[in-house]
Amino acid sequence: MWRSTFSKLFIRNYKPTNFIRIRTDVFDKLLTQNPSEINWELFRNNLLKSNITINSTNVDSIIISKCFNGAYLDIALSYVNFLKSNCLKINDGTISKLIRLYFNRITTDGKEITEKDENEIIKWCNSISKKEEIESTIAESIIHGLSLTREWMRCFEYFEKMKELDKQPSDSTYSCVLVKATKENREDIMWKLLKEMTAKNIIPRMSFFLTWFQHHENDKRKIEEMLEFISENGLLLPEAKIQKIEQALRKVFNVSLVTINRTGKCPSCTHKLPGVKLLPTEFSKLATIFFDTILVNNDEFLKTNPEEIKKFREFVDKTAPYDSVIDGLNVAYSKGDKLSVRQYAKNLSQVVKYFVNNNQKCLVIGRKHMKNWPRNDMAYIRENAFLFLVEDLSHDDLFLIYAALKSGPKTNIFSRDLLRQHSHLLNNKLKQIFRRWQQEHQYQLLTINGSNRIIVKEPILFELRAHKVKSTWHLPFTNENQKLAIQTFNLPTSWLCLKER
């Protein structure tokens, strides 16, 4: 012990050395040069000396991967020529990077591939695919490369190989094959792949949809097929590509770019957007799933206890249906959770009053410690609404959802909680159904003002995904990110209104 404490005296000037990081300024200078003038031998040797993590096995692929930003294919090719002329072995990792670079270059250019490039890519692909065992990243690169060429049907061999390796292909891997299948008019293959992807919960890239719309510019039936696919999966397209899509669809539809506010009226076609329609079987399925699998299944003590479940089931069977179900504590704490008990009770009773004035029958769900709240407020709540108090240590959200779903498709919920943690546990299809139900039925308390009037945020009463009414399509866009997204509760920032010609 003594020795260790004294040795601390000497470590005073401790400075971690960071000689692992690769310096980027070396490469910045390189990329601006003319590829024929670069002295590769000097550059390579300097790089090998500069850093202990760079060695002869990975130096080639590091140099090529630095060309990715901006797709400097000519520089990479000149380096490969240098390697060939010096009889240095080019390993598989480097070749796979080179194929990716070809792919990046050609897709960013947007031009047709030249025959020379095509032959080169096939040659590189063949050189790394000879071995029996293949690695998953290499298989993905080969798929990317082959999807540009005439031998694109060979991609499916590598999909099979990836299945054997237990690795899921990425969305860009699928999308590049989808794009090629579209261009070659092989719809059977394309739809098969799309089905496979939706089963695995992979969303195709925007490039695929764009090529589909551009390729079938004049074919209205095919465009509608794709719009139906988008609508079924609740996809939102990125706003950055809106103009290109507008141009592609112009030949078949009367396209207009609009923004739709909360009223749900389209300013272009003056139609009102339709509401969310869910089947009654879907409701009962959701309700049972919430209660049996999420609340009870793995450990009923985790979120509640067995007696309580029994009691609540009986209670709901006796008192349902309701017009709305209120999350009592969420409402009470809506002005902050450091107020007096009297204020909480007042908040809740005001909300109940609002529903009573609207002649609605409601259920309030709370916790047992609410019994200690001021008596007259609680008495008012008891008299004018059904009240169910769960144990202090139970989750009240799930009781809220169960009661609302059980009592029928017209029941609303009143809570500020977006219930994300519960919807997260559902499978993909049910999650969408739940989201759509929630979007139309969740009321949120905004504030209670000085004169005890409550201000409520009402739900959006129309579909937030692509849909068709009377031969007119409405297509939503978001500005949230570059990739395709699954619909959220927010209003889409802009819509395309597609009227029939």
């Binding site: 470590i11 692992i20 990975n58 990792g93 690695e135 990243t137």
Partner: protein, 425 residues
């Protein structure tokens, strides 16, 4: 008492099992499973390509690391683990380098000191002259262990429930094992240790149990002062006395009861936030309590989760001093607290704690008793030094000043002085 007798009888017998208790045998299992063999090949190929692509991969893998890789199912998980191993390797290389540098520095300092010794009359300093008898580490160990054996007879019991292995990821389980190890160590060092009981501990099938056994290989020796049970605490103790400490309940533990048996759940929950320990306490119908973290501390941004050893340390201090505030302030990491709102007294307290923790902890009273003597001693030393140098000493760094309270370290050859000499010349 019975246990003590057992220990004594065991110790008097000639020991045969002690010889190999410090090394954990690694079983040499040959891979016969064809599926695993196939996966091993896939992983080796993957490693090759990753090396070629310039990803972060360690230069070599040990057997255990390969075994862990085989357990990971997705490519990204493997990549993350390999990157972690890579960073470990790099720190190892860095440390080695630094160690060599330090060796050279130390050698230089030693030589310098030797030269100085030639001129001087007497050299004082720790490894030259001391009025204290050296206390050996074995003596200290025996004393600490004796404390624990006494605690096992008379002290309050504390249960650690190690049944949460299935709810943790591999990394969390390993962290948990380390924390359990610290828990034992911190309890041992305390003046009034608990009688620790590790319940539900399976050292064969669980990750955390295996790792804990790795950390403490002598855990199952009869004279090792720790109670390890495979059984649940429900079978071992009186149910009315048990109190489960779980952060998810609403009852705060303000009055520390010296008769209760508290249970701490050995779970590291970085990923899942489910109230599993609460469910367990509910199922067994036990009393529940949580530490009064919000009542006594002003928390900053971030989680309020504490390590197992920190909780046990807090309980140890509360039991000894019956003061929640000081115990919490001492053992809750200061980065988790809200800094600006801590009042002045807290600040000073905390600062002192921090200092004493990182530096040597010696009670000041010891020196205050001989303060006059020391003053004289220092004066004499100062005079002899001035006579030697006849120059001003350079301003000292903060760390030095702190040490000067206890020792005068001027005899140790230091670079600053040398530099000063050179400059003046």
């Amino acid at each position: 008492m019975i246990r003590l007798m057992k220990c004594l009888s065991q110790q008097l017998r000639p020991r045969t099992d002690l010889i190999r208790c410090y090394s954990v045998e690694v079983q040499n299992q040959k891979e016969t499973n064809p599926e695993k063999e196939k996966k091993r090949k896939v992983i080796e190929l993957e490693l090759d390509i990753m090396k070629q692509e310039g990803r972060k991969v360690p230069s070599k893998l040990s057997k255990g690391e390969m075994e862990k890789l085989l357990d990971l199912n997705s490519v990204s998980a493997r990549r993350k683990y390999l990157a972690f191993l890579f960073s470990c390797e790099m720190t190892h290389i860095n440390q080695k380098k630094k160690k060599e540098e330090r060796m050279i520095e130390r050698q230089k300092a030693l030589e310098e000191r030797r030269e100085k010794e030639k001129d001087m009359h007497i050299v004082y300093g720790l490894n030259r002259n001391s009025i204290f008898l050296k206390i050996y580490e074995t003596t200290m160990n025996l004393w600490h262990n004796n404390k624990l054996t006494r605690a096992m007879q008379f002290s309050q019991k504390l249960v650690i429930d190690c049944s949460y292995d299935q709810h943790m990821t591999m990394q969390e389980a390993e962290n948990c094992a380390k924390q359990l190890c610290y828990t034992f160590a911190m309890n041992r060092l305390h003046d009034q240790p608990f009688d620790l009981h590790y319940c539900n501990l399976d050292t064969v099938n669980t990750v955390s149990g295996k790792k804990l056994h790795n950390h403490i290989p002598t855990m199952f020796n009869p004279d090792f002062p720790l109670n390890v049970h495979k059984e649940s605490f429900m079978d071992l103790f009186d149910k009315d006395k048990l109190v489960y400490l779980t952060p998810h309940c609403r009852n705060e533990l303000i009055e520390y009861n010296h008769d209760d048996i508290y249970i701490v759940g050995a779970m590291v929950d970085k990923a899942n936030n489910e109230p599993i320990s609460l469910a367990k306490a509910k199922k067994h119908n036990l009393r529940m309590a949580k530490l009064p973290l919000e009542r006594f501390l002003h928390w900053g941004i971030g989680g309020k989760s504490l390590a197992i050893n920190q909780i046990v340390e807090i309980l140890l201090d509360v039991r000894a001093k019956n003061d929640w505030e000081s115990a919490l302030l001492k053992h809750v990491p200061r980065r988790k607290l809200f800094k600006e709102n801590l009042n002045q007294s807290h600040k000073i307290k905390g600062a002192q704690d921090f200092k004493t923790k990182s530096k040597i902890t010696i009670s000041k009273n010891f020196f205050n008793d001989n303060s006059e003597d020391q003053q004289g001693f220092e004066d004499r030393r100062q005079r002899s030094f001035n006579a030697l140098n006849e120059k001003h000493l350079p301003p000292r760094s903060k760390e030095r000043k702190h040490f000067e309270k206890y020792f005068n370290l001027e005899t140790w050859g230091n670079q600053l002085k040398k530099k000063n000499n050179n400059n003046d010349n």
